[in-house]
């Protein structure tokens, strides 16, 4: 098998904006019957180009930090790398298994118990039941939720919910790790434990791509820094590793 890599050549991602009038069957039918005139505006929706003609190559061992303002296309690029959005143009080759920590709490089913959520998530990640069972204890123990795991997630406090989501989504093993902001959860004690776990996860992945607003995070873990603006790369530079920086206590950004 090839070593893990991500190669993008001229990828663009565009979001079609369907106004009410555009998203309807009426327009499409009118379009059929009236031909040209209305057709022109019906076929051409306004689009937001979130990622604009990007080319890059991430290879084994690289830790890439994506920086940029809100709306600069960081998250969209991460979603594209994780396979949710397919680029409208260009070519993207991803070799290796991908784990993404985007919106970690979104996949939870509020009516299912904590254990069921762990199980369902494992199934969605394509794991075998035996494999999930082997991980379930570890996840449960790490989350520190104890008996609560037998209760529906909707009875959890928001902090507990995040703990569970964090424990589940960081239990993965993958060649390529995609993260939107450095996750931090819970009270001081749990937060320290979580930071350590994330650190291990980052350490064991071959390629890490993390979007962040935190310059110190980039300095601490990244080997390469890519600045995005309006979906374009404005700079792409290597980061000097500061060995001392590893000891600096970081101020984690809140989990979104």
């Amino acid at each position: 098998m090839m070593s893990p890599s991500i190669v993008a050549e001229g990828i663009s991602v565009e979001f079609p904006i369907f106004e009410n009038s555009h998203r309807s069957l009426k327009k499409a039918v009118l379009n059929l019957t009236t031909g040209g005139r209305i057709g022109q505006d019906a076929g051409r929706h306004a689009v937001v180009r979130a990622v604009d003609d990007l080319s890059f190559r991430f290879s084994e061992g690289e830790r890439i930090g994506l920086v940029g303002h809100n709306g600069s296309g960081k998250t969209t690029l991460l979603r594209t790398l994780s396979g949710v959005y397919e680029p409208v143009r260009g070519s993207l080759k991803v070799a290796g298994s991908v784990a993404s920590l985007l919106d970690v709490s979104m996949g939870l089913d509020p009516d299912a118990t904590g254990f069921e959520n762990i199980y369902l998530r494992g199934i969605l990640d394509g794991m075998s039941p035996a494999r999930i069972r082997s991980k379930i204890d570890e996840i449960a123990e790490f989350s520190d939720l104890g008996e609560y795991l037998n209760l529906p997630v909707r009875t959890y406090s928001s902090g507990m919910m995040l703990r569970l989501a964090f424990s589940i989504s960081t239990s993965v093993e993958a060649d390529i790790l995609i993260m939107d902001e450095w996750l931090s959860v819970g009270d001081a004690e749990f937060s320290a434990k979580a930071a350590q776990r994330l650190e291990t996860l980052v350490g064991s992945a071959s390629i890490v791509v993390v979007a962040t607003h935190d310059p110190s995070l980039v300095e601490r873990i990244c080997t390469r820094k890519i600045g995005l603006e309006h979906g374009k790369i404005v700079y792409d530079e290597s980061v000097e590793r500061k060995p001392a920086a590893l000891e600096v206590s970081h101020d984690p950004a809140p989990l979104s």
Binding site: S24, V47, G90, A95, M106, G107, G126
Partner: protein, 285 residues
């Protein structure tokens, strides 16, 4: 700009090239989404089963509510319509029971699959798995629900003195076909509804109207020389492949031919839509 790549535009497949290796579920594209999705039995099996358990978590008799409501429906409607349509109860009740059960399965597939992708948006935008998995989840869930009504049908058959014959073996085969029909119908509706939000209410209305045109409550024989209304209704044949062997009606080769032919046409259509839109669906949600 993106006109040529949106659903209403032209076929423009080769612009974006995506190659993935690694996770077997994420490594798919529009071409093999249906195949990879259908094979992920464990994923949709677990999700669908979870849905059923979830729905009846706090109910005492749980999914057997389906059994009970089928029984009540069949007995009440059967008593009423056998009189109205001058049918013999011993023939009519099993006929109605099988027809209603299958109709409920098909109409809930049609209605729920309108929401197959819209409702699973939170998953689709987070994990790359074949879109077909979300459809199969719905189909399997409804199939399992349908199986809960089997005891009612069996009881009725026994009550009216119809003992199993070799023909009964055709019924499970018919049920398998119906399950597959659910997949293509669900895929097609799921995609179309994600793009055009007017289609769900249209489907909802159609299923109500079509019910009266489909021989569920009545049999084509009642229409006498206007029986062709049923003959040209593919839904009639889809029901008949299960109903005929169970109720001792003549087994028509046309019904099987219609059902199997429609399955091929349907999957071809679903495959066409999937190939064209797999890469666009997440953007529409």
């Amino acid at each position: 700009m993106s006109g040529s790549r949106t659903f209403t535009g032209g076929l423009d497949m080769d612009v974006a090239v995506i190659e993935r290796e690694g996770g077997h579920l994420s490594g798919h594209n529009g071409r093999n989404d249906l195949l990879v999705g259908l094979r992920a039995v464990r994923v949709w099996g677990t999700l669908g089963w979870h849905d059923i358990r979830q729905r009846y978590r706090r109910s005492i008799i749980g999914p057997f509510w389906f059994t009970l409501s089928t029984a009540i429906m069949v007995v009440v409607l059967g008593a009423l319509y056998s009189t109205l349509l001058h049918q013999e109860v011993r023939n009519y009740l099993p006929y109605l029971a099988v027809g209603l059960v299958i109709w409920q399965y098909m109409s809930s597939i049609a209605n729920e699959s309108c929401n197959a992708f819209i409702g699973s948006a939170y998953l689709i935008k987070q994990i790359r798995i074949p879109l077909t998995v979300h459809v199969c989840r719905i189909v399997w869930r409804n199939f399992a629900i349908m199986l809960h009504s089997v005891p009612v049908v069996v009881l009725l058959l026994i009550a009216f003195g119809r003992w199993p014959t070799w023909e009964f073996l055709l019924a499970p085969l018919g049920l398998m076909l119906l399950m597959l029909h659910g997949v293509w119908i669900g895929t097609a509706l799921g995609i179309l509804c994600a793009r055009f939000r007017d289609i769900p209410p249209i489907v909802q209305n159609l299923t109500q109207v079509v019910f009266f045109f489909t021989p569920v409550m009545w049999s084509p024989e009642v229409l006498k020389d206007r029986g062709w209304v049923a003959e040209f209704n593919p839904l009639y044949h889809m029901i008949e492949i299960v109903r005929a062997p169970l109720t001792g009606r003549p087994i028509l080769w046309e019904s099987w031919a219609w059902s199997i032919a429609l399955l091929f046409v349907g999957f071809a259509f679903a495959q066409y839509l999937m190939r064209r839109t797999r890469h666009r669906v997440p953007y529409w949600l």
